[in-house]
Symmetry: C2
Subunit: 188 residues, 2 copies
C-alpha cells in the first residue's frame, strides 16, 4: 500500500496526470520507491475505480488527452488511514545483497578485501550524489536526511569490516572441516 499512499499524498497537493506523477517520482523519489510507468497508470486507474480519485480528460492539441486525477474526500480518508498505519509500523529493510557476506570466507582474504573495496567505492559514490543534492523545503527533506544517515551508517559498518579483515581480527570458520551437517543443527 505504500505506492498508493505515495500517489494519494502527491495528489493531495493538487491535481496531476499520470505522466506527471510518474515523472516526479522517478526524478525525486527513485531512491525510496521505484514505480514503473505502466504500474503507475494501472494503480491510478484502480484508485479511480475505487473512488479514491476522480479522473478528468483534458485534451490539448492532438496528443493523447491527459488524464488528470483529483483526490476525493474518500481518497483523503484512505490517505489518512494509510499514513497513520505507515508511520506507526517499522519494517526492517531486507537488503538481500547481504547474503554474500555470509560466504566471504570462501574467498582468499586478499580478494575479499579487493571486492569489498569495490563495494565501498560504489557506496561512497552514492553518498556523494546525495550530499551534493540541494536542500529541499518541507518534510521531503526528511527522506533525504534519512537516506544520508543510512548511507553513512552503511559506510561506517563496511569500514569496520574492512579494518577487521585487514587486521586479521575477523574470526572465520575457515579450515574446511566438512562437517557433513545431516543433523538438525544450525550455524553454517
Amino acid at each position: 500500500m505504500e505506492r498508493e499512499l505515495l500517489l494519494l499524498g502527491l495528489l493531495r497537493q493538487g491535481e496531476m496526470h499520470g505522466y506527471q506523477l510518474h515523472d516526479f517520482i522517478e526524478r525525486n523519489l527513485a531512491f525510496c520507491t521505484d514505480l514503473k510507468k505502466p504500474t503507475a497508470y494501472a494503480l491510478l486507474e484502480r484508485m479511480a475505480a475505487r473512488g479514491w480519485v476522480t479522473v478528468q480528460e483534458v485534451r490539448e492539441g492532438h496528443r493523447p488527452p491527459r488524464r488528470v486525477y483529483r483526490l476525493t474526500s474518500e481518497g483523503e480518508a484512505v490517505f489518512q488511514r494509510l499514513l497513520r498505519d505507515n508511520l506507526a509500523r517499522f519494517e526492517a529493510a531486507k537488503t538481500g545483497s547481504d547474503v554474500g557476506l555470509a560466504f566471504v570466507d570462501a574467498l582468499p582474504r586478499a580478494e575479499a578485501l579487493r571486492l569489498l573495496e569495490q563495494r565501498r567505492a560504489a557506496l561512497t559514490e552514492q553518498l556523494a550524489a546525495f550530499q551534493s543534492a540541494p536542500t529541499h523545503a518541507g518534510s521531503y527533506q526528511l527522506l533525504i536526511d534519512h537516506q544520508l544517515h543510512y548511507l553513512r551508517s552503511e559506510l561506517a559498518w563496511l569500514d569496520d569490516v574492512l579494518a577487521r579483515m585487514r587486521a586479521g581480527r575477523l574470526r572465520l570458520v575457515s579450515p574446511r572441516s566438512t562437517p557433513k551437517p545431516k543433523s538438525k543443527e544450525a550455524s553454517p
Copy 2:
C-alpha cells in the same frame, strides 16, 4: 540471483534436501531473505536442471522421499561468480516504508509524535530480539552484526527526528498554501 547464491552457499557445506534448506533459511536468515517453501523447491529444481547441483532421492519409511541436493563443480563455479559479483556491488535498500515520512506534516504534531513513538517501540523490540540472540561462529555472525548496526542506526535517526519534532525544530511546509502545482516544478 541472491537466492541461488544463498542456496549454493549452503549446499557448499554439504548435501541437503529442500525441506532442510528452507527450514534453515527460515529459522536463521529470515531477517535478510525471505524465501517461501514452493519458491525454494522450484529454485532447487531449476538449479538441478541447469546442472549446478545433482539430485538424489533418498527414501526412508513411508514418507515422501527426500530429494538430496549436492553441489557440482559447475555449481561451485557459479557460486564463485555470484559471490564475487555480490560482494563487489552495493545496493541501497529501498525501505518503501519511508514514504509516509514525506507526509508527516499532514497530521497534527501531537499525533505524528504518538505514531512515531509506536514505530520506535516496534524498532526497539526487533533490536532487543537481535541483541539477545546467541553469538555464532563464522561469517554468519557478520550478518547479525550488520543487522544490529543497521537497527541501532535506524533507532538513532528516529530518536533524532522525534527530538526535533518535540522541540518544534522540524521545518515543515505546513501553512496549507495550496499552490495549485500545474506547472512542471518539483518539491512537494
